[in-house]
């Protein structure tokens, strides 16, 4: 049953339409990458976020993802600020990473979120930036504003969660890591902690409309520092090379998740870590090769209830 507002209320609430014969002027933007999130880091907003994360996000994550956390000990020696670089297969990834961070990091963490997706409407921008501390990140092109904001927050000792693939995986395999996390780490001289999330895709893959509760594993890897490895030429490691190293670390965690720590380390030492991005083959073969933990199949119940007529 639809509810119709009284006409006068509708006329007040609804924005007037714009005459098609007039060009729309560029309005001062407070959306997308220009959205000002400063208010979400004020004490009252942090208090609200803390309440939300503790009483909504974490219970929700526990309910639908039942996360198991591995490698949290890698975070112990870190003082912060830290960049958490994770693989990305689902919208749930952000909530899961935030929920699984130790409290001392969780209370002072912002999340780089797609400016074109999470900040395209005022209500969305306000909701996500308040609930999870998201900041807008341009992902379709290089944007100095995004980088400057993230760097200034790191300098103010905020931790940053970032998904270097620049978007959720389409098919369950990883994608090339972009240089944003590496660049910020080098610019602010902070550690990058690789994070691998296993089993999130079956719970809520891209394009899904329903949650299917499951079990998720969250692995934190060894912190990576910019400049700790020299390039083969002997020069200082650049951001592109550092990004590749972060990707390799996440791939190692992925291998560890599918096998075991020792086997994964040995394969890594031999340079035989399975390709994080999957086989370079046709889509069906990539789907065929996908580990079971990344697949989402229709439930037997759903299949039996399907009526072909």
């Amino acid at each position: 049953m639809s509810v119709r507002l009284p006409r006068v209320v509708d006329e007040v609430v609804s924005r007037p339409t714009w005459p098609g014969t007039l060009p729309r002027p560029m309005e001062p933007r407070n959306l997308g990458v220009d959205y000002d999130t400063a208010w979400t880091r004020k004490p009252w907003a942090r208090a609200v976020r803390r309440l939300l994360v503790d009483n909504v996000t974490r219970p929700f994550v526990a309910l639908v993802a039942k996360p198991q956390i591995f490698g949290r000990e890698h975070l112990d020696p870190l003082v912060g600020p830290v960049i958490f670089a994770a693989n990305h297969t689902s919208h749930l990834d952000t909530s899961i990473v935030v929920a699984c961070l130790p409290e001392r990091f969780r209370r002072r963490t912002v999340v780089a979120a797609a400016a074109d997706y999470f900040f395209d409407r005022p209500w969305k921008a306000a909701m996500w930036s308040l609930a999870l501390g998201t900041i807008p990140m341009e992902r379709t092109k290089v944007n100095r504003k995004s980088a400057d904001l993230a760097a200034s927050l790191l300098e103010q000792r905020w931790n940053l969660v970032i998904f270097p693939e620049g978007g959720r995986s389409q098919d369950g395999w990883g994608r090339e890591f972009r240089g944003g996390a590496a660049y910020l780490a080098k610019r602010c001289d902070v550690a990058v902690v690789p994070v691998h999330l296993r089993g999130v895709r079956p719970v809520f893959p891209k394009g899904a409309s329903k949650l299917r509760p499951g079990k998720v594993e969250v692995r934190f890897g060894d912190p990576l520092w910019p400049g700790e490895v020299r390039a083969p030429s002997g020069k200082e490691e650049d951001a592109r090379r550092f990004a590749a190293r972060i990707e390799e670390s996440v791939a190692l965690l992925a291998d560890e998740a599918e096998t075991d720590w020792w086997s994964a380390r040995r394969r890594a030492a031999a340079g035989e870590t399975p390709d994080f991005r999957g086989p370079d083959a046709s889509p069906w073969r990539r789907a065929w090769a996908l580990p079971a933990s990344a697949r989402r199949t229709r439930s037997p119940r759903a299949r039996s209830s399907a009526k072909p007529w």
Binding site: V8, E11, V13, P16, T17, W18, P19, G20, L22
Partner: protein
């Protein structure tokens, strides 16, 4: 951001409904696709220091005039005349521009040791101003210094002893104006130029004149040939006034003209939606508009009128110029058109307009049917330069409740004119011929004009004449939402809705007519090419 100029909107499917003024209320009308709406410009920024601008203007006059301080001498007779309650509309917030200017003039007069100073409200044949209205226009300081001593007077066009005949123009027009003004060593005239019609030689030649003088340009023939009243060079009314003004100059009347222009910031913040374009209305504007509209629909007309009449405009002055009359007026027109001019391409078959609750002649009063006609066909129709917005033989659709109601104190002769004369004929020439003398010389009307707060007996005829150009030019006039009997009495056609009116208009202008809506007030002047 600099204020945006006025423009013409072409209505399409996604254009929101258009706001129409409707007396003490509003209508929200969806115009047919392809219609045009002429929007006024946004208000220009006001002068940063209005008082300094006034002082500068007095000491740096334009045209062939010495600075005011050089014209002031001890022992001289100084008269300061000022525009009456008909300007500006709505009345502006304190301080009124007249107060600012007159205080500056009096400061200069005091510094020069001028003792003999009289202030005159330039009423012409308008009603006298109340003490409250004078106090509002002039400020407490001026009012309290002059009114108790009888030095603040109101022009009396029916007092033979207070008038002086200065001669005839080359066209045989009598020039008879206020004696005190004419015989002063210096006459300072303080204008508020809200529209291009105001100011120039019209200030003294009309504002301080008698019926004997006014009848030469306030008549059917002159007003039929004033095309338009906003275009001085094509207005017979102004040409006549200019002839009289030059005769005044030749007769030795020394005039120091001060003209001021205001921006279009006409409505206070609670009515901000009236100054905005409908598709740019914010949530607050929409809430303000709909709550106002709903409240007004449930408010008794008398109370609604009081609410609107108490409105004071936050106008800001945009220019002040002083000196020789014609040179001053040229600068004034430049400043006015800088604010009000909107270029419009081509004419239209049907011109629509929503009339507000106020015209120059019903401040603190009801707008009676004759004033509705005058405002629509005399003023709004004439808001053009070049060619009228509507083509010859086109139709004018007016939105106004047009109540059959009169203020018996302010408009006694209007009642008789409406009840008796218009019941017999609406023909301008016939009315002028058969009834003008009777109304102009009626001793009871004259008595009320001189002693009460009544407009002169001939004033309703003048308001009817004011429609002369439009009535001569248009193929029909339709009033939407008006009192049907009152509308028919004036020879116009009533319609319940705009859609009905547009249907009726098609009988005159043909099918698929072009439609243009004049989105005023705020005021604008369409520069029609």
């Amino acid at each position: 951001m600099s204020p945006r100029p006025g423009f013409v909107l072409e209505v399409d499917r996604s254009t929101p409904p258009t706001l129409f003024w409707h007396g003490e209320g509003f209508r929200f009308e969806r115009l047919p696709e392809g219609s045009r709406v002429v929007y006024p410009p946004e208000p220009l920024p006001g002068l940063t220091d209005a008082d300094a601008a006034v002082r500068h203007a007095l000491e740096h006059p334009v045209g062939d005039s010495a600075p005011l301080s050089a014209l002031l001498k001890p022992g001289m007779r100084l008269t300061i005349a000022f525009d009456d309650v008909s300007l500006p509309l709505p009345p502006m917030r304190r301080p009124d521009m007249r107060q600012r200017v007159i205080e500056a003039v009096l400061d200069a007069a005091a510094a020069a040791g001028v003792d003999d100073v009289v202030l005159i409200a330039a009423l012409a044949l308008h009603r006298r101003m109340t003490d409250d209205e004078l106090r509002h226009a002039l400020g407490d300081r001026v009012f309290d210094a002059f009114a108790p001593h009888g030095l603040l007077v109101q022009h009396d066009a029916e007092d033979p002893a207070a008038l002086v005949h200065l001669g005839l123009t080359e066209e045989g027009e009598d020039v008879e104006i206020n004696r005190r003004a004419a015989e002063s060593d210096l006459l300072v005239y303080v204008n508020i130029n809200l529209s291009a019609m105001d100011g120039g030689h019209k200030s003294v030649a009309t504002g301080l004149a008698s019926y004997r003088s006014l009848k030469h340009h306030h008549n059917v023939r002159t007003l039929q040939h004033s095309r338009s009243l906003m275009d001085r060079h094509h207005s017979e009314l102004h040409t006549s006034n200019w002839r009289m003004g030059r005769l005044l100059r030749n007769a030795g009347v020394k005039i120091f003209q001060i003209e001021t222009t205001l921006n279009l910031d006409m409505f206070p913040s609670q009515f901000a939606f009236l100054q905005k374009r409908e598709w740019e209305w914010s949530l607050a504007d929409r809430a303000g508009f709909h709550s106002t509209r709903l409240a007004l629909e449930r408010t008794p007309p008398r109370l609604a009128r009081q609410i609107f009449q108490s409105m004071r405009s936050p106008y800001a002055p945009t220019s002040v110029q002083a000196g020789e009359v014609e040179a001053v007026h040229d600068v004034t027109l430049e400043n006015l058109f800088r604010q009000q001019l909107v270029p419009v391409e081509g004419q239209t078959d049907i011109l629509t307009m929503g009339l507000p609750y106020l015209c120059p002649y019903n401040v603190n009063s009801v707008m009676n049917p004759i004033l509705v006609a005058c405002l629509g066909l005399g003023y709004f129709f004439n808001l053009y330069r070049g060619r009228p917005l509507v083509r010859e033989g086109g139709v004018c659709i007016i939105s106004h409740p047009t109540p059959w109601a009169f203020n018996p104190v302010h408009h006694p002769s209007y009642i008789d004119f409406f009840e008796q004369v218009l019941a017999e004929t609406t023909d301008l020439v016939e009315i002028e011929k058969r009834y003008e003398q009777q109304f102009a010389t009626d001793p009871w009307y004259i008595h009320l004009y001189r002693t009460s707060y009544a407009y002169h007996g001939v004033h309703p005829l003048y308001m009817w004449y004011w429609c002369a150009h439009a009535l001569d030019y248009l193929g029909g006039v339709i009033i939407v939402g008006g009192d049907r009997a009152a509308v028919r009495r004036m020879g116009f056609k009533p319609a319940s809705t705009l859609a009905d009116a547009l249907e009726m208009a098609e009988d005159v202008v043909g099918r698929s007519p072009s439609i243009t809506h004049l989105h005023a007030p705020p005021l604008l002047v369409a520069d029609v090419s």
